[in-house]
Amino acid sequence: MTTAATTTRRTLIPFGPQHPVLPEPLHLRLVLEDEIVVNALPAVGYIHRGIEKLAELKDFQQNVFLLERICGICSFIHSLAYCQGIEELMQLDVPPRAKYLRVVWSELNRLHSHLLWLGLLADSFGFESLFMQVWKTREKVLDLEEATAGARIMLSTCAIGGVRRDLSDEQIAQVLHGLDAIERDFESFIPAVITDTTVKHRLVGVGVITQQQAHELGAVGPVARASGIARDLRVTGYAAYGELGLNPVIETDGDCYARTLVRVRELHQSLLLIRKALKRLPATPIAVPVKGNPIGEVVSRVEQPRGEVLYYLKANGTKTLERVRVRTPTFANIPALLAMLPGNELADVPVITLAIDPCVSCTER
């Protein structure tokens, strides 16, 4: 067979930037042979908002609200990463109650992010009813967020030096009660996800990357953990995680099914962490006053639902920062995604793409 004959058999599929399976614009140029992917090239930039640049114009307090808006899912965790960085620069001692409340909101974010993802994954392999059931439960998490923070997604509760809202005893009871209802809901769909024959058919052995590959490609979060890398930044004990204790959830198969199992088990882990944090909530103030301006440079990292986020902050002693650099988890997982795609069918591309839980707004900032 000549080379010319081989190339004519190839089809070029533009996957995105507008594609029904993608909530956000991400462009993958897929080269197919019949229905098998042989190559994939990403292109981003369709929703680049220049947030890093804007953060150099706003003052460091306003940046909390700006950076929170990088992501429409794990908003609180973005502001947490930023606040922890500034607090390290200004050597602020955050009161324990604030640290515990930060865990509560972080984990509520993780809960609804993983549920959102599970729904989208179900949609990617055409299981619409599962998608609807999962999102119905996600709504309950959002209700808890609104009841505690005053908004469904943009919580705006994290502040430099602590948190901006306290929880009353009634609210704590409400959250605990809500978590029970959410856990009951899990029973109605999680066994289906894990044991359903058709679901397993679509996930097991699809988009495999080995532990070695995941390490070398710099994969983070559930993608890395599904390939057997026990790496979860919550283990480093920022906020109150050090006192609550947790072990990273790991799986070793490195396929889409392993990624699903990791996230499903993390759902339970999040429930446990919120309950523990609420039970041990110390009675201290929720914030310390902030005096002066930050100076110096710092790297702040926290674990988002999609993996590790890195904030590099450089301050010069004025109100505005010199540089705010955000490396989001999806950005780190793109090389891993490109390694997963070749060799799989076109039908698996949406599943594999969603299995890294892409957040394109995060990626482009």
Partner: protein
């Protein structure tokens, strides 16, 4: 083989979980940041809220006394409420459409 059947049947029995929005609106939760209001009687038009607003949604002039909010720009973060020295700004829980 099809573990989801029970869930489906339960959904059928319990009826829709959705609401016919916008005809049916859920009452807002207490403490929700729905929209921003100012009480002109207590306001001293100091302009602190304008300087702190991350979105540049506010404008204040001392003479003549005016306080204006651009609802299209407001991101409902309530930072202005926090810094207001007279506590005349507050967030109302009901959500309004920016265009109305």
């Amino acid at each position: 083989m099809f573990p989801f059947v029970t869930t489906i049947l339960r959904a059928l029995r319990r009826g829709p979980a959705t609401r016919r929005y916008p005809y049916e609106v859920r009452p807002p939760m207490a403490g929700s940041r729905g929209h921003l209001v100012n009480e002109p009687d207590t306001c001293i038009y100091c302009g602190l809220c304008v300087r702190r607003c991350p979105a540049g949604a506010l404008a204040v002039t001392r003479e003549p006394k005016s306080w204006t909010l651009d609802p299209y720009r407001c991101i409902l973060c309530a930072y202005c409420v926090e810094v207001c020295p007279k506590k005349c700004l507050r967030m109302e829980p009901s959500h309004v459409r920016a265009a109305s």
